[in-house]
Point group: C2
Chain length 268, copies 2
């Protein structure tokens, strides 16, 4: 399971200010911290970018890849920003992402085809509702895969995000149990070992004390890891949760155990 940093997001005041002022030093420092904490990829989430979308996305992509050659996830709903980012990206790139929503199908998916890059597909209904249970998730997954294939990309380009729900949603617990059940079934449904990603920070959306957030993440991340999740999008400042994800990799992927490995960053 690769750990992907979700720290570079516009909801952070530090990030939004750095984007506004094209403050490359701040962005570089954040990325360096994330890599040191064990991130295997960086999600770049500048929001919908209503003003200067192209210039801001170019700035972010170029700044991040000046300190790392790890994969970059371009995480915006703005197709103009995505196109601009894809034009300058040299690192492996992942578009984050599309869904059955008509606008996404029409404007985002074709960008993955044009640039021949990986793309994340969200298990959401065309109106962006979250499927209610395992069965609905699988129906949506089948429809998404069908649409994806019609676009003409190699099937290995697809990464499925089954959409972790906030625990405080009315049906959040039930939905997240469906997520755990769906992940190991996708390979059979699609006929190949499709990669998966989940946004861990979604789990604790809303006000909650830090240690309870950590408790929830530490309980859910190993469940996702054991279900076969390929990529965990995480807040790298949640050091206990990140350590937990690394311990999961040790338990699930290593052949030889050593206590020393338990603390090495970068096992993801």
């Amino acid at each position: 399971m690769m750990i992907v940093a979700d720290n570079l997001q516009v909801t952070s005041r530090r990030v939004s200010q750095a984007i506004e002022h094209r403050d490359a030093e701040t962005i570089r420092a954040m990325v360096t911290q994330c890599l040191k904490a064990g991130a295997g990829a960086i999600d770049i989430n500048p929001g919908p970018l209503t003003r200067e979308p192209e210039d801001k996305m170019r700035f972010l992509v170029e700044t991040v890849q000046s300190v790392t050659d790890k994969p970059l996830l371009l995480d915006t709903t703005n197709p103009r920003a995505l196109a601009a980012g894809l034009k300058v990206v040299r690192n492996p790139a992942v578009i984050n992402g599309f869904s059955l929503e008509p606008a996404k199908m029409a404007e985002i998916l074709p960008l993955a085809v044009a640039h021949d890059v990986d793309i994340i597909g969200y298990l959401l209904y065309p109106d962006s509702r979250v499927p209610a249970d395992e069965g609905e998730c699988l129906v949506v997954a089948a429809a998404l895969f069908e649409a994806f294939q019609q676009a003409g990309l190699a099937r290995e380009r697809l990464i499925i995000d089954p959409v972790v729900a906030p625990l405080i949603w009315d049906d959040g617990l039930r939905h997240n149990r469906a997520v755990l059940a769906v992940i190991p079934r996708l390979a059979d449904l699609f006929g190949f070992p499709v990669r998966t990603i989940a946004g861990i920070s979604n789990l604790t959306t809303g006000p909650a004390p830090y240690h309870k957030r950590i408790q929830a993440e530490q309980a859910f991340v190993p469940m996702l890891a054991a279900a076969g999740l390929s990529m965990a999008l995480m807040n790298m400042r949640h050091t206990e949760s990140v350590a937990c994800a690394r311990a999961c990799n040790l338990l699930l992927q290593s052949e030889v155990f050593a206590w020393e490995a338990m603390e090495n960053p970068g096992l993801g």
Copy 2:
């Protein structure tokens, strides 16, 4: 997933001294602490009891059930001690446990039949070796279930322990991945939803710093919980791991989420 306290074990100097001196106050204080920390049952592990087995087991059972009516696991290989404990136990009782080992089949399993109590069956070869992989675990499970049924107990009396291996064993990681795979398959193999138990403290047998033990437990317990484990035998003084187990129950079993529930003891 019920949390079972493994703290009452003879390897603890405090416990061995309390048994030797029939110090009921110390035992009662320990049990009360375990219950307060969220234990749903108490494992009584006085070792093989080479001297005064009957008297010591009677003392332990009577002392523990003087402070709780929760289930007691009688955890010794000594059939005389087990018989003595079963004679005085009033709480729900579980014999911990038998395996395909001939002595256990001959002397332990019949006690469960005679007293009509639950019994834990270990997935071990007759010579006490641990099965190497998922397939071997399932073969052993089938043989154990067959032997169990021939003894004439109601099938619901059986609880399977797939035997968590120490991480530092040569094949410990591989074996524990087999444990995760086997747990959800037992219901199909046996034809009913058989209960399962796992000894979490086994995972970190040997010298290791406390925080690394906790990291390993916090990674593995949620994987076991998601696999469907019924009972987790844990050191209740590992408060972070116990909190993690409770968080797992919240994520996997609750219908309604509330952050307040994250810290309530006794969710197990």
